[in-house]
Amino acid sequence: MQQFVQLIVSGLAVGSVYALVGLAFIMVNEATGVVNFATGQMVAIGCFLGVTTSLQMGLPLGPAYVLALAAMAFFGVVFYAVVFRPLQDRPVVTVIIGTVMIGIVIQNAALMTWGSVPFRPRSPFGRQVIDVFGAALSAHALFVIVVAFLMIALLYLFIYRTAVGARMRAVAQDRDAARLMGIGVDRMFVLTWIIAGLLTGAAGILVGPMWFADVNMGDPIALKAFAAIIIGGFSSVPGAIVGGILVGLAEMLGAAYISSAYKDGLVFLVMILFLLVRPQGIFGERIGQRA
């Protein structure tokens, strides 16, 4: 029983990370139409920046993380300028390949900067456990869950309760109409990419202490986040959250109770089933198949 509770908690924790990454992906896709295949690399960079600011620069963890997040926000702007703007209005696949190429650049730059040896970032809570009814729950896992949901709540408030958020939603719904209404569309794009940078950065910082950190860490995380979005509903914000949690839980419980090796396969099998039977996911809208 205790193990079950521990698995639930770690499933929720890793699931919240997937939710954050999924949200970053959805936001960019909704607002700018870009399918960002460098999302995984952004997560990895977020993690490394967290390590750099805390370990190598010796800052206390709070300011270190803030600095790392600020750097990720800036990174989002760079992404916008280098990949999005030049390839704006190109066909979808061209933009995808563009993000892949920048992902290669990022991954190899990370390799040059931080080397290829994996390491284990420290959590602000170290390896503390909290005893809840006899179950030893990782303090860091609980921290991840809390922080992730705080961020998501803040994001929700920002998007749905502020004027700027309303403008972003307008741009996502109809770019040309928004432009005609005087909304600075490009500014909204930059803002979207900044948010994406913050979300992926936070995901990277949070997930680092749970597993290892190395230059290749981003892709498996991004893939599971993709699966989470599919299952939850491709353009759906609650979908990303629910999907992320489901994927995280499935991964942890599946690894323990079914098979450690095929745990990833399980997640993708569910994803493919959704794509075939209910492509709009749990929360998505019905997709018209004919004219």
């Binding site: 190899n108 396969g265 794509l275 997709i287």
Partner: protein, 315 residues
């Protein structure tokens, strides 16, 4: 360049390529072989994506199907490569039809994700089904292609096999492009509704395009297996599927010659830049990004051999 001139130029290049091995060193031939094997897969991808507009991230998975089928048949079952290779090609095509029929009901990024799921699943199965597919260790000891008493066991010798297969594959692709099937594939991408109204069974054409891409991929994979004599799951992961797409777009999508050019460039570029040291992949990625930005119709547009079709699509 007019199409006829392009055809003559292509023939000249192919003939010139026959004498290449005399001028290139051992490692260079290995890279050239890899490039040409990839070219076969990219020509296949051109049917599905360049013509029919199906965003497929499954190509490396199909290459893997071809590689593993021939590997298993020729090692575990001791079949001659002359039999296992065709079996691999047909088998891969069959797999594509089976998964294509349900998947091709999906469109756009949903199809992309379904094909992504297939590729990822393939790697997971190949990694974990140790008894049949060797797990992360893969399958080794794959015999080379051989005639009685003479094996195509060196890169130099195998080059001619690959050259012949690529030439045949290119010719078949050209025939298909100029047939009503090729026209229907291009039409489907341009306007699916009008295509259906013009008497083309749209689902059937999509499955044909998809299956063709898989057949070419399977052939590519099978050739690879008998060259490297070893296959492992990571050779066929999602990253490779994306590289195939990149090869097609950078070379010139919708063009058979573009497919070959893209494969050659993207394979050789990193090798040529190795001298730059650790930063070479960064330069490669940046260069590819620049090509995407400044040459929207792909590298082939530099030579003027842009298919009329590419011009019209306004990309």
């Amino acid at each position: 360049m007019k199409p006829r001139t392009a055809l003559l130029a292509a023939c000249a290049v192919f003939l010139a390529a026959l004498v290449l091995p005399a001028f290139i060193s051992g490692y260079g031939i290995r890279i050239l072989n890899l490039a040409l094997i990839s070219a076969i897969a990219v020509i296949g991808l051109n049917f599905a994506f360049g013509y029919a507009g199906l965003i497929t991230l499954a190509q490396a998975g199909f290459v893997g199907c071809g590689a593993y089928i021939t590997a298993i048949l020729s090692t575990t079952f001791g079949l001659s490569p002359w039999l296992s290779i065709p079996a691999a090609v047909i088998g891969t095509g069959f797999i594509a039809v089976v998964i294509g029929l349900p998947m091709l009901r999906l469109k756009g990024h949903y199809l992309a994700l379904a094909t992504l799921g297939f590729n990822v699943s393939f790697v997971i199965v190949a990694t974990n089904w140790k008894s049949m597919m060797g797990g992360t260790d893969g399958i080794s000891g794959i015999p080379p292609l051989a005639l009685p008493g003479w094996a195509f066991a060196t890169d130099h010798r195998y080059y001619y096999v690959i050259w012949a297969v690529l030439a045949a594959a290119t010719w078949c692709a050209w025939r298909i492009r100029n047939s009503h099937i090729g026209l229907a594939m291009i039409a489907v991408r341009d306007d699916e509704i009008a295509t259906g109204a013009a008497s083309v069974g749209v689902t059937r054409i999509k499955v044909q395009a998809f299956a063709l891409s898989a057949v070419y991929a399977g052939l590519s994979g099978a050739l690879f297996a008998h060259m490297a004599n070893f296959v492992a799951p990571d050779d066929f992961n999602l990253g490779h599927s994306i590289i195939y797409l990149a090869m097609l777009i950078i070379g010139g999508e919708g063009s058979i010659l573009g497919s070959i050019a893209g494969a050659v460039i993207v394979t050789f570029m990193p090798e040529l830049m190795r001298d730059l040291g650790t930063a070479y992949m960064i330069v490669f990625g940046a260069l590819m990004l620049l090509i995407l930005i400044f040459l929207p119709k792909g590298l082939l547009s530099l030579t003027g051999i842009v298919g009329r079709r590419l011009k019209a699509s306004g990309r």
